[in-house]
Amino acid sequence: MEKGYLSLILHAHLPFVRHPEYAEFLEEDWLFEAITETYIPLIDVFDKLIDDGIDFRITMSLTPPLISMLTDPLLQSRYIRYSEKRINLAEKEIERTKHQPDFHRLAQMYHRHFTNARYVFSEKYHRNIVKAFKKFQDMGKLEIITCGATHGYLPLMNSNVNAMRAQVHVAVNHYEKHFGRKPRGIWLPECAYEPGVDKILREMGIRFFITETHGILFASPRPKYGHYAPIFCPSGVAVFGRDMESSKQVWSAKEGYPGDFFYREFYRDVGFDLDYDYVRPYLHGDGKRTNIGIKYYRITGKTDHKEPYSYEKAMDKAAEHAGNFMFNREKHIEYLSTVMDRKPIVVAPYDAELFGHWWFEGPDWINFLFRKIAFDQKTISLITPMEYLEMYPVNQVSTPSLSSWGYKGYHEYWLNESNDWIYRHLHKAAERMVELAKAYSRIHENSLQNRALNQAARELLLAQSSDWAFIMKTGTMLEYAMKRTKEHLFRFTKLYDDIRSNKIDAAWLSDIEDKDNIFPDIDYHVYQ
């Protein structure tokens, strides 16, 4: 029998980026890269584990914006175009590198990689890879949890409880539509919690969420088991705390696995390395060099000199690191089991896009880890938070502390000199949305007004996405984040004014309904 549990949680999220008004759009590549490098490799890992009869458990949050993009016909067809281009370039690369064996092998690897992605995407799952994840969930291997409707940072909209509630409510409805049942868990956007958020989750029937470590450690009364067992908020919603040791091993810039010298170097991409005219057809309209996704070098060391990447050696490393991770969890759980009177749970959440996109070998690491856990030891078992709650339905009651998983553990990354200007506008828009929902509570369903009210709700939600504040702070792609924030706020305000003055511009409304087409079934009454 196992002595304790490991719960691996992947938070899969991208902001809603969809621009039908342009033939192609740079920021849409975020999705296409994540599909090719993260989501499909993970699907492959899960499918192969199932084929090999290996039992596993994993939890993933698939956020509503991500699900909306993955199920959007326009973006699906654009992904096909994207992957065709990659395959085409890989073919050229195989030819170009035929006298350089190290590179030639890698070109072939990328060709396999891209053709497989196209196959899994178009043929195996008929362009809708959300169905793959649903399949794993229905098989009991994967627990899919939800998130805020647009990844809105809940504690920073706490002046308006209706706005917070709408983020959760819309997400729960969206989940139900795609997965045929209500979500049992939620990944709070940016892991940001403040006391009271749990009451909203309770209203929506959500059973558990995850906080940063100190959300549990600073909870009051003091949790008896620290973050190695869930606690119940007074509302009855369970909370699991992130384990910092397992996080560090994977995340940390200094000690983390992804920095190993044998792993693939993210920053050496053919988009920058090869002759301009040669790569030009694979760049965007403006012709600026960007990452294309073919990378030939390994990290090598803290030097500009880079050695060619060896897939075989990198796989050895991934297996070694999986073994190391498992060994550390075993030791950890062995120790905990001597001081606890129940089986401890170690919760290890990560951004899904770390695996494959940044850490090329990440999905293989998960593959090795799950196989090793199944065959090489008896101390730990994989579990989902929900399964743990079913096993241990009695838990201590305690109120978690305000926290987030951002820099310094609180709200600073989303509330600082680079982005604080957005909140006065977001708060005003939320206030106006509630005002509209109350003033126009009985509107004919097919009326123009009803459409305008629903679109106003969409625009508000899109403006609230925490990604914009995040990008403003990181400083990269800054103009885009500013543009999106202003654009959604502008559209919202125009809708507000138009509804109030009863002068709705039908043509313009149709236009933005087409552009910001997230949540087609939204009902603005959620703001009532």
Partner: protein, 276 residues
């Protein structure tokens, strides 16, 4: 026409388009740096010198910090990189309004020690208050008065303690160092005259800073959640009194995590949106 001339004209047009795009790009950049400078400018004004001038109202407690530090943003946060990958020929988006005609101040928590507040005050409200000062109106200053209202229903006079921050003209938001986790605060924005008369322009909501350490409360209550999601309180605490050692172990690395922030935003590797 000569082919060379056509080519020349074509290149010329291309140059013009390029220059135009650069102009748009620069416009956005300078707009941002405007905002950036303003906020940094603001942070500079609220420097330590200023903060040290703050005096406590009511009877000061020893535990209350005497010299709140100013936000130390400038040295620790590098300027954002303004490089861009693609010039987005975005249709013009109108600027957001400066205000909404409201008279309000909103208070937000940033972390256990810092609050953020923004406000919008109507001109006529300002003038009405200034008029009450008579000849002293010209020497009245705009200030924020920060009240500790922990566990009380604040009526304007019963705060545990308060301090005052002078605000430079034109500022519309402020970071406030309260330095006290797990306390509740409320802020008034108002005019203060040299003789100490304070007149309020607007009062904020109340916020509570989070705990910054382990709870002192060790009472245990246990609960079971039935499938129907009904709460059942369990009388007897389960298990042995061994939580301390688990807790200590769990707590060991915590100082590091809070310092380093092992998180999505701090890691070199994060979601695609944070890539360089």
């Amino acid at each position: 026409m000569d082919k060379a001339i056509v080519k020349e004209i074509f290149l010329l047009i291309l140059e013009v388009i390029k220059a135009f795009c650069e102009m748009i790009c620069k416009g956005i950049k300078s707009f941002f740096s405007l905002i950036w400078d303003r906020f940094f400018g603001m942070a500079d004004v609220s420097s330590i010198d200023k903060a040290e001038e703050q005096e406590w109202g009511v009877t000061g407690e020893d535990t209350w910090p005497t010299a709140p530090k100013a936000p130390s943003v400038k040295h620790e946060e590098p300027k954002p990189q303004l490089e861009r990958k693609e010039i987005i020929p975005a249709p013009e988006i109108p600027e957001l309004p400066d205000g909404y005609g409201d008279n309000r101040i909103v208070l937000m928590v940033r972390d256990p020690e810092w609050l953020f507040t923004y406000w919008e005050i109507r001109k006529e409200v300002m003038n009405n208050v200034l008029n009450t000062f008579g000849s002293l109106a010209h020497s009245a200053k705009i200030v924020l008065r920060v009240y500790d209202v922990t566990d009380i229903i604040f009526d304007g006079n019963n705060a545990h303690k308060y301090f005052t921050i002078e605000i430079p003209g034109g500022a519309r938001s402020w970071y406030i160092h309260v330095g006290e986790p797990s306390r509740s605060f409320c802020v008034d924005i108002g005019f203060l005259t040299p003789n100490g008369t304070f007149r309020i322009l607007s009062r904020s909501n109340t916020v509570r800073t989070p705990r910054a350490g382990i709870s002192e409360v060790i009472d245990e209550t246990w609960m079971s959640i039935a499938e129907l999601y009904e709460k059942i309180n369990i009388d007897a605490p389960m298990g042995l009194g061994i939580s301390e050692s688990v807790f200590e172990r769990a707590h060991k690395g915590l100082a590091d995590i809070l310092k380093e922030g092992v998180s999505s935003s701090d890691s070199p590797a994060s979601s695609p949106i944070s890539k360089k």
